[in-house]
Symmetry: C3
Subunit: 432 residues, 3 copies
Amino acid sequence: NSFHTFRESMLYSNDSFFLVSTSIIIFLMACGFAFLEAGSVRSKNTTNILFKNLLDTCISSICYFICGWAFAFGTNGNAFCGFGQFLLIDFDPLLFPSWFFHFAFAATASTIVSGALAERCEFYAYISYCVVLTGFVFPTITHWAWQKDGWLANGPEGIKFKDFAGSGVVHLHGGTTALIGAICLGPRIGRYEDDETGTPAVPMKGHSTPFAALGGFLLMFGFFAFNGGSQSTIDTPGDAQTIGRALTSTMLSGAWAAITVLILNKMFVGKKWSLLMSINGVLVGMVSACSGCDAYEPWACSVVGIGSGLSYLLVLKMVEVLRIDDPLDAAAVHFGGGLWGLMISPIMMNEGIIFVANRRAFLQLGWNCVGALAIIGWSLSLMGSLFLILRLLGLLRVPEEVELKGLDLYKHGEAAYPLVAYGHGWDDPADQ
Amino acid sequence: NSFHTFRESMLYSNDSFFLVSTSIIIFLMACGFAFLEAGSVRSKNTTNILFKNLLDTCISSICYFICGWAFAFGTNGNAFCGFGQFLLIDFDPLLFPSWFFHFAFAATASTIVSGALAERCEFYAYISYCVVLTGFVFPTITHWAWQKDGWLANGPEGIKFKDFAGSGVVHLHGGTTALIGAICLGPRIGRYEDDETGTPAVPMKGHSTPFAALGGFLLMFGFFAFNGGSQSTIDTPGDAQTIGRALTSTMLSGAWAAITVLILNKMFVGKKWSLLMSINGVLVGMVSACSGCDAYEPWACSVVGIGSGLSYLLVLKMVEVLRIDDPLDAAAVHFGGGLWGLMISPIMMNEGIIFVANRRAFLQLGWNCVGALAIIGWSLSLMGSLFLILRLLGLLRVPEEVELKGLDLYKHGEAAYPLVAYGHGWDDPADQ
Amino acid sequence: NSFHTFRESMLYSNDSFFLVSTSIIIFLMACGFAFLEAGSVRSKNTTNILFKNLLDTCISSICYFICGWAFAFGTNGNAFCGFGQFLLIDFDPLLFPSWFFHFAFAATASTIVSGALAERCEFYAYISYCVVLTGFVFPTITHWAWQKDGWLANGPEGIKFKDFAGSGVVHLHGGTTALIGAICLGPRIGRYEDDETGTPAVPMKGHSTPFAALGGFLLMFGFFAFNGGSQSTIDTPGDAQTIGRALTSTMLSGAWAAITVLILNKMFVGKKWSLLMSINGVLVGMVSACSGCDAYEPWACSVVGIGSGLSYLLVLKMVEVLRIDDPLDAAAVHFGGGLWGLMISPIMMNEGIIFVANRRAFLQLGWNCVGALAIIGWSLSLMGSLFLILRLLGLLRVPEEVELKGLDLYKHGEAAYPLVAYGHGWDDPADQ
């Protein structure tokens, strides 16, 4: 009896410890995105993008407290959404570690979008989509896929939507929102050649490669917690090996994707060894790994990773051809990588199609397609409507003058690198 | 019997694991402070401030090894301080995880101060206060509040000082020291208008907003470990949910505070959406959360956070009016936020005054006031005396020429960004 | 019975949790090295060094998957190396957490080298040594020392090679490789005075002290996981206190080393308070702590740390005299510190020579010398041969023009700080 009590207590305690420690690391992905984005924009918009990423975490937490949790995991739910524990009233305190974990996911989903809208998005527009996304749209998707009465978790013949860590729930959703946001906003002034006047495109490079790399490393760091933590328990038999496998798959998939992007870019696209493309390569590989990283053999990650690298380059090309301006390639990384992840996991995972090409395995693939379409459709319709409304109201994009001169001084009064703060008074050049 | 042995072993092991892993993350707060401060000073003093933050961790560890632990948790103590295990001789090896945890706290307390003294403090002065603070002053305060025979932990009628993670012990102490240090040092040359000559104030902006943001994110990351880890055990029933609650409170309180500061600053003070103020807003909210984050309902965090934002703005205004120069707003964040945290926790926490307005609840508030006064008085008298002695000896402040020309080259021979290290030899402007 | 099952399950689960969480933090050392190196090179080679550090992690993971694990811990091994589970086929899924942990070590070993070769190493040369090191040379050394049938783990009279966290296995190996690499490459153009023409040396400062400091802090953060995690289990009685002791030793040893280097440099070498030397001081102290950090009394760390500081300065001087160019002082930190760590641990550790000067204690010292010589010899012969072959093939070093003009634009087409990305359009100087 004493043993039974002890066992229950230990399981809850250690599982919570696991949730909490992975959540804290996942939280740092906000910093990772902030610096990936800050490094990829021009110096005149750096304060602005850092500001948005910082506020993301704040607004997400408040929205997830007010109604996000309620729609995702609140009591009295149905197949579509939860509906209870608004404001965390009547909330079971045993679930606090879970709340924090899922908040960290919501903050990540929201912060994916800011990159695609960088350098031209109006402040109130940003607040609006952040509130809607973390307060309603993302929570409902998590409910569909990850709550036991969600409709995606209850497919035909007992099939469940296969999305272990959120290739679909987090990244496809975030990537779709980023894409529709970038489309509604339109490209930055001068990003593409002007067909009418013939004014050529202006180079729009990020202002700090080291910051982009810092962001990339922090995101890799966070991805291990993101993908490992998605097991959400550590002490049930089988958990620990699954988590180890998830980390291994995440790293290998990221590595194969980076090398794929690196080599193909060198051969066919940029003709040089691009660091920035390699960073996106690692990230897209890890995004694709999310869906099935708990169930891949290590060798199978080569297929997942190489394919994700290809899907990244493909979406990148499409975005370019369609003259969409996505300064961070968020659509290519998260939409391309997320979609590929959902498609490949039913094929390459243990008991997947290449191992057992039976009805059940194909059904799994089909159900993942259904889930992908549902997520894309839901994100497009709700977030797209929001962006369109904002556009019609003239609240989506900053005035032309502000865009050209930069958002930092106008909106925030804070230059990223104020000139007055530089220089010193010593003369000896040998010291400098 | 075997079960009993196993249980004891597991409890110790897992609790130690929890302590150790949170300590490691708390340690990174040193990096967070370093970059918050580096971003907030001018480029000519950047190496200097990074140097101080790095040395902080080193000096703290040695002082905490020599006598800090002895005064805080050493055997043979009384209500005022411990007195044993100097140099960690006769130290119980089972306590190594605890030592490392408390060292991480001491390093954090010490590093709070360096921001307020930035850009003008003499090297030996800095060494002196770091030694005194981590070797004696901070350890005694932790003894009062967190050791079971400390006088603050044994209030009237069984009341204990309510300071779960150190709004008072760490932040009010650090903030008071920062304030008295900034007062003794005096403002940087040109920081305020010169009344005699009428020379106007010189703008003193930090040189890198991204570094300040990096520091802010790393501090948020660290705060979760700081406030969660303060439970110090994970496997006793109730621990895990308390830790989850502490994290939730910390995030929500930080978010409400950031939004409060952001909006009030936009409306009444700077008239723009300030990133730097928002960062301080998040931090002050988290500082205030320390005291009672284990015992707040989520909705109560709105009161804690909004109030901490107000207290930050209030202290900021007072510091400005009194012409004190605190380049990092350390006093406003840590003194203002810490004091508010101690005052609000007996009111808003579960079983606090708004829930049960009984004698015991008011006694708790009174005892927290006593504790706050004791911490302020102790820090002011000891650290203030030290700063005054250093000032009288002429060791507190660098010579005027060094201050004007910058400390980096003169003291360290290392510019933050040596000009000779920049530039390249390629001509094609399209590549740049 | 149920209890027995539960106990086994808990031990495996929690030990895996410990392995996985320390691995994730160790992984961030790649970011630490990246920024220590990026800050220490000139701006024209910054993208290049970040690129190499990012690819390091990718290539390491693939090589460690293909054959690294097989040679290190694969089944069917002998005293020299493992030989099984290539491509992780027939891999026991219970070992996934171990794989990820050892991969993180391999990535760290590999990334040590890149600093010494900075600013002039050819891309294919870098790929080659990374593949050989993480695919074969490092794995065999780990097999010798850390696999139970390795020859170093089975010394005479039951003595084992004393290298808890890898002063020898990781750092001496990495430092030796860095040294021979720097020798084979030769110094950067202008690094030393030209004896023939008399052209004086050119100052070669790193371009960003803050980045170097960021790298230093992240490496300290990682070292705690590296040295604590080397216990590899948390729940066996004795584990937790050993881990706590390891962290304490690591911090104290780093602190003593930093202060030693700082003071000696101020008195005898650079005459100023050098931040960059202090960072290397902390790191060399932590490197030296690796070998015996599980078995030092806290006071003994002063000897370990002070000695490591001296060994750093000594190797630094030798490298300078021999006109070897090691831009990151990787040889001084990792070779000097690693060798000192191996020599001092049999002396200062509990049951070491200063406590019990018996035959067994001296045998331990002797065996550590044997191990050190073996690691140096193995690294020199294999990695040295590789560098020589690459040199003979003309693949080791970039062309002179590329070196002078910088690698970033030529190789990567990505400047670290593209000029076109800077500036804004606002006029009011007060805003800047």
